[in-house]
Symmetry: C2
Subunit: 257 residues, 2 copies
């Protein structure tokens, strides 16, 4: 059952001034009352980091009329925690949406992604949550072809809810010609890292993380396959990281203690 | 089959000067050749964060004889990436151990933990990996009762290997009277957050993350139960976050696009 005027929390990891979050706010405003709590600076690659060794700032900002917006000095996950606890004062929103991320979070990239980790945090808080990403990491990214999908997927989640401890990871191809929606699993892929080694003016080395995305999965039901074949991908995500299938094996180990 | 002299990568999130990593180095030195790459400062709560917007420093340090040690300016996950790519020059170590963490990473805390994320990154690199944590977050923590368990579990992993894309999360109770080892699953629990709101000297508010750990799981096969009952817990962990059980449900949704 969809509430007539749900409260929708909007977060991201590219920062409160990123074009992607503006698109997400606009679409969500058509579905309910929007509250935005987003990092005051880009937080890509922050994963599920939280701020524990320093305090956080949270300031109301007036950028767009009719939208409650707060900028936060912390990580995307901090934003969700502050939103629920301080901004909404413990009242859970009906939906938490994160993004739209400038760049992909497919396969293993979910672990590095601040966008997805914010949505995971929403799900930990028992809020139906979705992380959205577009295959274009530039600030000039064009999100217009994604918006009807964003609205429809969010509306479905408001209508049906999501299974307990489950959230959605949604990706869009860059092409405006999206063929449809595929329900997918996380592809088996990884980064083959390289570090670009340079010398500073004092001739001391420093390193830039770089690398090549390495696909080790030929399945046609993966998020990577769907994107490459111009589908929007929807992956249901859980945060129980137990490898349940490995428990019987480990129970057979004999520990000599 | 155990190699006669395996290479063992040691990382942590409490920083290269933490007592917990010194204990881990000492035990691992009894099993093989140790290489340490650890953060130059405490990185608790960094989760799976990586450094992409700034460069990294990596410096060899001479603290203990016979142990190759490097301090890194980045996150725990950065340390693993730099260790494999730069320090070991692409040669995979036979084992990656992370910790021993000063403080627990049970249940959902695996997501926030730099210690566990470093071990997850090792597993992504196809290295048999283990994250160790003790239920004592103080710098004065006494790890001595854990060390025979650390050695035995690491030796077993060197002997048997681990299933593909699986790592181990190992926790020790604070009590020196450990009853034994329990193979466990991640408990269903969360933090009931609160933010301690204070005013700075300019009377502007700032917030410290705090909260109470909330157990929502009465199972006796969980990591939280094991700890409370004085067992060392071993949780097999995977990094495929797909909620496979939810795929059929989502395939029944009708998207009106």
């Amino acid at each position: 059952m969809t509430k007539t005027h749900p409260t929708i929390l909007v977060v991201n990891d590219d920062g409160i001034t990123a074009p992607g979050i503006k698109c997400l706010m606009d679409v969500m405003s058509e579905l309910g009352k929007v509250v935005v709590v987003a990092p005051d600076s880009p937080q890509s690659g922050m994963g599920h980091a939280i701020t524990i060794a320093s305090p956080l700032r949270l300031d109301k900002v007036e950028i767009y009329e009719h939208i409650d917006m707060y900028r936060c000095s912390g990580t995307p996950v901090d934003c969700v925690k502050l939103a629920v606890n301080k901004v909404l004062k413990g009242r859970k929103p009906d939906l938490c949406v994160s993004g739209i991320n400038h760049g992909l979070n497919n396969s293993i990239n979910i672990l590095y992604s601040g966008t997805m980790s914010a949505a995971v945090e929403g799900a930990i808080e028992s809020i139906p949550s979705i992380g959205f990403s577009l295959d274009d990491h530039t600030l000039q990214a064009d999100f217009s072809h994604c918006l009807k999908y964003v609205k429809e997927i969010a509306a479905q989640v408001l209508r049906h809810g999501l299974p307990q401890a489950t959230l959605l990871k949604v990706h869009f191809p860059k092409t405006p010609h999206i063929k449809g929606i595929k329900i997918c699993r996380q592809a088996n892929a990884k980064w083959a890292e390289e570090f670009d080694e340079r010398l500073d003016p004092q001739q001391r080395p420093y390193y830039w993380l770089t690398g090549v995305f390495q696909m080790n999965d030929s399945g046609e039901e993966t998020d990577v396959w769907a994107l490459e074949n111009h589908y929007a991908s929807v992956v249901p995500v859980q945060f129980d990281m137990t490898a349940h299938h490995a428990i019987p094996l480990l129970n057979n180990w004999k520990f000599n203690i």
